[in-house]
Symmetry: C2
Subunit: 251 residues, 2 copies
DNA sequence: AAAGATTTGTCCGTATGTATG
DNA sequence: ACATACATACGGACAAATCTT
């Protein structure tokens, strides 16, 4: 599938520090994501790929093996290499952004798991966003978001401790930020801003999100406020980029 | 700098298809971007890094050499390895999104260069977004966006050919989509939606944006409409993730 | 049903690049 | 600069499963 930039090129950079099979795996992965093989539901035979990329068949086999291990492909001797379809979820971000509501229509089961929480002093960027002074206490909650039993996001969120002293416990009880805020008198809240960057996953993120090393993540830094425009939540959320995309409706 | 997830881990994956020096270069790169060395303005000595990552000093030297070549670091014998400051630009996306206006306050010179244009039939996703039938003619314009002489974005944009037959020429003249639209009777337009994903750069994108292989890009698929809510532009824009972040204000 | 083509799986060996000490 | 270990890449040959004719 042509995406509008240039016709595809299959050259391999031998001095990039990335092995040939890994580069090929990345290219095949991109081709799958862009729907290039949707008509057949399978990847071309190893011999064809080997010729296309200008490498030995064993090198292609290494690339395919890594994608099979990630669950993206499955191979059957004599038949070929089939694509396991995995729909990409869309996480909608708007003035009213809610994790569960946003993903519920697209996935069977949505869940959140708190993996750590404590109280810690505000760092500069958090203090600025929350209109506090640097060093003031914040409730810190780190949680993983699941869609269909697959981890899709890893979020570190911070609340002013003075206003929400029991935030950690309440999120642990309800597995929901919205419900925890309701119990503390915040009936509704809105998303103020979201900063999005992309980068490679760190080792910890890859472990929590069950990603292969060298995977790409989207990092969203966001601020929520109550209806009086008082900021109440600062979050840094990391999304597995190959499982989710972010949609912004600026209506 | 702790980012709220877990204490940092410096383990190297020997079976990832990515050589140790490349993995270390990526980790140092992330540390620099997250501001971990901002207080000293330099990277720790090679011997310290070697011990921290559990590798030989030669391996760390390879990693640093690749970052020096990218222009991220500079080494002076006897003094150490200094960080060359490179601020990340923020591209604001809102109902009113304009390339030049958005970046002008942050960079000295903003420029756009058209690298290709033609007329081509609408593919399914474009036709749906523009309320046309599949196969109807679209004006296609591919351009690179520069900030301070550095390429930051690569955009493939599509306009209905019936309504804007001279779009390509006008953009070529003015180097501005906004001005080209004004000349064709669209005084103002608004951003309707933006879909953001992250992935590794393709070879062509890396070439156009002057990225190393294995670099991460943000891909934004967006739709603009005129003030009568008629969609007029479908775009796929790729941003160099290490030079730019996207900011969404959901005010 | 049988033969041949296609496609993945496995074995051998060799050369090169990477990382260590 | 050198020796060692290991992962990577290549080349060829054959086996085993599946599909086509």
């Amino acid at each position: 599938m042509d995406h509008g930039f240039q016709s595809q090129d299959f050259s391999i950079d031998r001095h990039s520090g990335i092995s040939a099979w890994k580069q090929i795996a990345d290219m095949i992965n991109r081709s799958i994501q862009s729907g290039e093989y949707d008509h057949t539901g399978r990847v071309p035979p190893e011999t064809v790929l080997a010729e296309r990329f200008g490498v030995n068949r064993h090198t292609v086999r290494n690339a395919l093996a890594s994608l099979v291990e990630e669950g993206l492909l499955s191979r059957v001797r004599g038949r070929g290499t089939m694509i396991e379809k995995r729909e990409k979820l869309v996480f909608p971000i708007s003035r009213r952004t809610r994790f569960t509501e946003g993903l519920a229509p697209q996935a069977g089961a949505i869940a959140r798991e708190v993996i750590r929480s404590d109280v810690r002093p505000a760092r500069k960027e958090m203090a600025e966003a929350l209109h506090l002074k640097e060093g003031e206490p914040l409730v810190y909650v780190c949680m993983i978001g699941f869609a269909d039993q697959q981890p899709v996001s890893l979020a570190a969120t911070y609340f002013p401790h003075n206003r929400f002293p029991h935030m950690a416990d309440l999120i642990g009880q309800h597995h929901s930020v919205t419900k925890a805020l309701v119990e503390q008198g915040v009936g509704d809240y809105v998303r103020v801003s979201t900063d999005v960057t992309g980068r490679l996953a760190t080792a910890e993120e890859a472990a929590h999100l069950k990603l292969g090393s060298g995977s790409v993540v989207l990092e969203a830094v966001s601020v929520n406020a109550d209806l009086d425009s008082l900021p109440i939540q600062y979050s840094r959320t990391v999304f597995a980029a190959d499982r989710i995309s972010l949609r912004f409706d600026t209506q």
